[in-house]
Symmetry: D2
Subunit: 278 residues, 4 copies
């Protein structure tokens, strides 16, 4: 029998140019649509009636892009999930994920977009509920002080020395959940991002987990409209190079940056249940 | 407060050479370890006691690699999850995922490993339960006949023409669950893979969903030790090139292969509940 | 002043389906076109007359794909270079590079194409001359015996121990040059590839350079229509894991496969000048 | 016989932390070393005497990294090429390429490095000569006005409409050559980069070639110590989406960004020969 199933269109590359003023604005989005619903006949019998084609999803994104003007990606994700549920009786749930490349201004009509960091949004809607998430991914950040790792468990396979001074580097992914989808989100993304980076920079880190939790806690404290935040922080290890064979001393100065293997640390930080009840 | 959290080591690149006979054998694995448990003090207080370092996880994988000899990756995943639970009181759950690159023999001690397809395994263990999955990913497969797509829903944003004859191409990911972790798995992986590819090749496809379901159903029918299978089949669209501007007719012959956007189709196929009760 | 310049279209993704027999055949090509010529006015004055648009290059590849039927990629590359020189007076040189993904047959109309190895061809044509190259790239090959590395120079920065028994792994790129572009190339590619892999497998390797040269030499000896061959063999290092801290002995059995850093070894092997004069 | 050959080590990932002041500084380099010389015996006879191991090259880079303090990557590349020529009699030429990831300051000891743009340097040294290049790669830039493409050649395969208003986007790679290796390079890189981006932003573009040439010309005019500059500008096409089927008009507003195929435009701009003679 058919278990959980979904389908959709990913990698919809949409660039919208806002020429309303002499200073142009660029929205550069990659959109993914995912639908769930009553698609048993599609799978089992090859009966496509009631199936919205993924090509139609793509067309819908481009057609509705007119509505983007002056709005946040969270609103566009909401609009699209609403569209797919209203128009398609077989659909019980819709999820729209958007990744935005950020273009910095070089001039009135020129831009630079080299950063691999993305602003993200995700709207998840059923016939009864709707939840909106915002986030970021691919923010490469590094601490060169206030970071150690010691006091961990040791067994017969442990060789890692303790250290009070190590480089901590990560490619940050974070996704936070809004208490209400209708809440205004203007400026909010920048503010949450700033909280994350400032906490990362200032924290006295005993481990990736320790700093990650502090970052999540700071976001919940500073931004009351956010109910929870999920953080993913792969540990991009920087290993001290052994210079002793060359008669040199490495005073925490020369490192090899490695891609593999990497620690992978994930956690959700959320409000205490009683906080909600107040 | 701290919500769901986990941590581990990913990208552990282990190659084991079996020199027991003149015909060498190569096991080329990428291992990921992920642990859950009582790590609140690590996050909140920066107290690392009881925390097994991800560097220790890596060491453990290499040290235990001696045990790989003549065994399947499912067994190695099981061995490793068992190790981490037994050795670490704070750990309540362990997941070990292994991807194996397949090297084909060129000679007694020479091999070719260009395929991007990977054999996969994943063991998930708590203090009470253990489940073992096998799978494959990155198998690029294509049907040039017996594939159409028609009768789907049409709305004002639908422009896709119906077709009774299209290329269907995908990068197949499949993961199936074994009824028992102790079950012998020798030869089983090859057999399941063959069922998947043969069904894909022979099926009269009304949609990706239709063929995907048929593939899952065939696996459950042919392999009684498997309880369910999850399939992911991105639709690598091959679009007919319009040759009319050049005075030529494209008789389903010349296509442009596209990377973006792509359909993304996923489903689980499982046994009927009553099947289990019989 | 304007120095050397060229322009073209890369990443032209062309799939041609041959339905002439019940057993279909798939040609899956990525084509790049590059032109040189008298384009000073384009650069300096913004005068585009005489400039063939890269979009037109793409159209040309698709329109001429009809001619692919039953022919090798070398012929298609030749046809295309001929086209661009004949049709465009401003063009003095044309280079067409083709990479072919190889699809293996699963059935009459089903195929598997997971290998990252590519067959390649490159035609380089001026108003006076034309040269045709064939090649391969991305062939991942590994030797687990008959490979050592010793006797190399040692200075104050050398720490690498000598070894008579190491894994030698590489992602092979090779490109060979045909004495005549009109020479029939059917079966030739398979034969050259076989010579390369068999020599790699059988060679008693003192270094990557040593084996690479033997491979090139074997190709020139076995294939008289080839005038030279260029080989690129990055050294995908497999490092012995130190198991001593765990009380274990690593008898050339457990390795960590690394991506970075990697040795990069390149050489051309060609016929002695007097060979050509005979 | 052996033709042109070289070997070296690529992907040497070096991070140097400068803790001299409370405000730390990070140098994040990826270094590649390539040597040429008299290595015929290595290839033909498997005689490694005189061969500097690529592992030794890597060690040398780390050991000499101490010398990086307060110096530009151009100087480090020069130092390394000098080292390899002086220490190895068999070596006739050395090339050292360095790519630097740029970390922006978040605090005294915290940094953000998400940009995929890299600062580059390359020193090429023989026993008689030495040339130093500087450059950048991966700078993603976009013009939303002052860019057209018209008046190009039309043949039977041309379908591209002319336009006076298109998005021009590229991932800029540039490499410029210094008249003298000893010339001070402090601040120079920032200044050249600024010239490139400002010219890109302000230029009235008739084609990629036209803007590329203007960028190169501007660099040579503003920076007398540079003798030539090589520019590579892939054309990241942004195609207008046809909204007519949905009853909408696309007023140069909604685009699909494509990865493949892409135009690839390259040119060198250099000083007039008589300029040098003055």
């Amino acid at each position: 029998m058919l278990g959980r199933n979904s389908y959709g269109k990913s990698g919809i590359r949409l660039v919208r140019l806002d020429r309303a003023s002499a200073d142009h604005a660029v929205s550069d989005l990659t959109v993914a649509v995912r639908l769930e619903g009553d698609f048993e006949a599609v799978h089992v019998a090859g009966d496509n009636s009631g199936l919205v084609a993924t090509d139609t999803m793509k067309n819908t994104v481009y057609a509705r892009a007119k509505d983007l003007a002056g709005r946040e990606i969270e609103d566009f994700a909401l609009t699209l999930t609403d569209h797919f549920l209203r128009e398609n009786a077989h659909v019980s749930g819709a999820e729209v994920s958007i990744e935005e490349r950020i273009w910095s201004r070089l001039g009135a009509s020129a831009f630079e977009g080299s950063s691999q960091e993305r602003r993200t949004s995700r709207a998840v809607r059923s016939r009864e509920t709707v939840v909106v998430h915002s986030g970021l991914k691919g923010a490469l950040i590094l601490k060169s002080a206030r970071s150690g790792f010691s006091g961990f468990a040791r067994d017969r396979y442990t060789t890692l020395p303790e250290t009070g001074d190590r480089i901590l580097a990560t490619s940050l992914t974070a996704e936070w959940t809004h208490a209400s989808p209708s809440r205004s989100r203007a400026d909010a993304w920048d503010a949450v991002r700033r909280t994350l980076l400032e906490t990362f920079a200032a924290h006295d880190s005993a481990s990736v987990q320790h700093t990650m939790y502090a970052m999540g806690e700071a976001v919940l404290q500073a931004h009351p409209g956010i109910t929870e935040i999920r953080l993913t922080m792969p540990n991009r290890h920087h290993l001290l190079v052994d210079l002793a064979p060359f008669g040199l001393k490495n005073e925490n100065e020369i490192f090899v940056a490695t891609e593999e293997p990497y620690g992978l640390i994930e956690a959700t930080v959320k409000r205490e249940p009683d906080t909600k009840e107040r």
